[in-house]
């Protein structure tokens, strides 16, 4: 499926916001991802979907290697070949009574539409966003505009509360949606045993064919691309 770039701009060091116009009917849940073909590279790059509507979608990605560097150099008007609506996404039918939405760094983007969807069904989560330092912060205002309480943490204390996201948990919560680096997910699981965690893995196809991204879980082997990227906290083996 072809998508046209409307905007591809840097919003933090090495972090880019990519606005695309194209078919989005295959996107079923927040936390799903897409696979972008980048000209000159063999494998597609899996990127989580930050937000979407009937006309297009917004992605936020970090330039971490040659492929994503090349993506960062693409411009408005360019087209991209994308496999869309991949993975399971977050299951909103289960969210407890007082859920947290916890994101670290470039794990934050898919939580934006998740937070929107939760508020749409009348659930107001507490959002906790963690960054390393002040100048790496992005999307803080966007979350605040959704009308949910937002707690900011930075590892070096240069903005918000000093420390990690798990140093800033409110007193009362019974469920946690999270996306971010593995140590963060582990810490979240230790503090909140009920929830849904989104995992990252190197993958080839992105639609369940190659078995390149399988993790062992308490409910058997799961392909992060197809049976994930979101796993129930209680099924994760740490």
């Amino acid at each position: 499926m072809q998508y046209q770039i409307i905007e591809n701009t840097q919003i933090a060091p090495d972090v880019f916001l990519l606005d695309l116009v194209g078919e989005t009917s295959m996107i079923k849940a927040p936390g799903q991802f897409c696979q972008i073909a980048i000209p000159g590279f063999f494998l597609r790059r899996p990127i989580s979907i930050c937000d979407w509507d009937a006309d297009g979608m917004t992605l936020i990605y970090k330039a971490v290697g040659r492929g994503t560097d090349a993506l960062a150099r693409m411009e408005a008007g360019d087209t991209l070949d994308i496999l869309n609506g991949l993975g399971n996404g977050y299951d909103l039918s289960e969210c407890g009574k007082k859920p947290l939405v916890i994101g670290g760094g470039v794990g934050i983007p898919p939580l934006y539409h998740l937070t929107k969807a939760l508020t749409d069904q009348g659930v107001i989560p507490t959002v906790i966003l963690g960054f390393n330092k002040k100048d790496e912060i992005f999307f803080l205002d966007e979350f605040s505009f959704l009308g949910v309480p937002v707690i900011l943490t930075t590892a070096d204390g240069s903005a918000g509360k000093k420390g990690f996201v798990t140093d800033a948990l409110p007193e009362d919560f019974d469920y946690a949606f999270a996306c971010g680096p593995l140590p963060m997910l582990r810490a979240v699981a230790q503090r909140c045993p009920r929830g849904q965690l989104s995992f990252e893995e190197r993958m080839a196809c992105g639609f369940g064919a190659c078995m390149g991204c399988t993790h062992e879980t308490k409910s058997g082997p799961k392909r992060i691309c197809k049976d994930g990227p979101v796993l129930k906290t209680e099924e994760v083996i740490w």
Partner: protein, 303 residues
């Protein structure tokens, strides 16, 4: 335009066959298109016991290709027969290729015998060339004597045509091909992936948890063409050619080198419609090249 080919008595509507490990059990692709347009497909490599496979990362990119070190993840042959084959029936109605791996002659024989008894299975493809498992797989495929032993052990317990899938990670693939043919193989599949590796410059460690993995994708096409060409001259049994095939023109090139049918691996993983597009492009390419029947060009590159 006639795209029909034959493999040991099995008539295929076209020579395009998704390769084992790149097509699962077909379900994921059936969501993208009607997979009954395929000549056949080779399902995920099956072993006697269930296998989780290697730790992740299992995938790394390369120039014009990729490395994988999945390590034969599969639920085991009994689960495949009880669950995967019946589910496959719902989306694929033609005879399928059962790809088998093992860690001993007895394991190969037992797994093949169980699959040989399945009506859906049209032929068996015995993998003696997986580079990603230890103590089995490729060890059988790098020595003519053990390659022949596996072939005999499997032929003894099966009625269906047996193709042996060869490793390119050898000095002389022709001697292995000959050994398999003399031991009674009905056909040969080649090539499996080429052993390679990549290092993460930030961590300064191999990207793959298994350190090494199998290289596939367009990067390996010329190696595969060369090996199919060499083996075609040495044996008289049919060859399924594979390695880096990405378009209809590659299919034709592989057949000119000597392949009776052509498998497509990594291309499926970057474009789920790869095989469909190849099948649709074939008649047009044949017309441009003055080919009326694909069967007639097999081995055409030989002098």
């Amino acid at each position: 335009m006639n795209t029909e080919v034959n493999l040991c008595g099995l008539t295929l509507s076209n020579p395009v066959i998704p390769a084992s490990g790149c097509f699962g059990y077909g379900r994921e692709f059936a969501d993208f298109y009607d997979i009954n347009i395929l000549g056949s497909f080779s399902f995920k490599g099956t072993t006697l016991q269930p296998r989780f496979g290697n730790e992740t990362p299992r995938i790394a990119e390369t120039p014009s290709g990729m490395l994988n070190a999945v390590g034969l993840q599969n639920p085991g042959v009994r689960h495949v027969i009880a669950h995967e084959l019946p589910e496959m029936k719902a989306c694929f109605h033609k005879p399928v290729i059962a790809n088998v791996s093992g860690f001993s002659l007895e394991e190969y024989a037992e797994t093949c015998a169980l699959l040989d008894a399945q009506e859906q299975v049209g032929l068996l493809e015995v993998n003696i060339s997986c580079p990603n498992v230890h103590g089995g797989g490729m060890a059988f495929g790098t020595d003519p004597k053990s390659a022949a032993e596996v072939t005999k052990a499997v032929k003894r317990v099966t009625k269906k045509p047996v193709f042996i899938k060869l490793s390119p990670n050898v000095t002389d693939i022709v001697s292995i091909a000959r050994a398999c043919a003399e031991a009674g193989a009905d056909g040969l599949s080649l090539i499996n992936t080429l052993l390679g590796m990549r290092v993460d410059l930030k961590t300064r460690k191999p990207i793959l948890a298994n350190r090494m993995g199998g290289l596939s994708g367009p990067a390996v096409l010329p190696v595969a063409l060369r090996m199919v060409y060499q083996v075609y001259e040495a044996v008289s049994i049919p060859i399924m050619g594979m390695g880096g095939v990405a378009c209809a023109r590659d299919v034709i090139e592989m057949m000119l080198c000597g392949a009776s049918a052509v498998q497509v691996g990594a291309a499926n993983l970057v474009n789920p419609f790869a095989c469909k597009e190849m099948i649709e492009q074939l008649p047009g390419e044949m017309e441009r090249l003055g080919i009326s029947s694909l069967k007639e060009i097999i081995g055409g590159a030989h002098l």
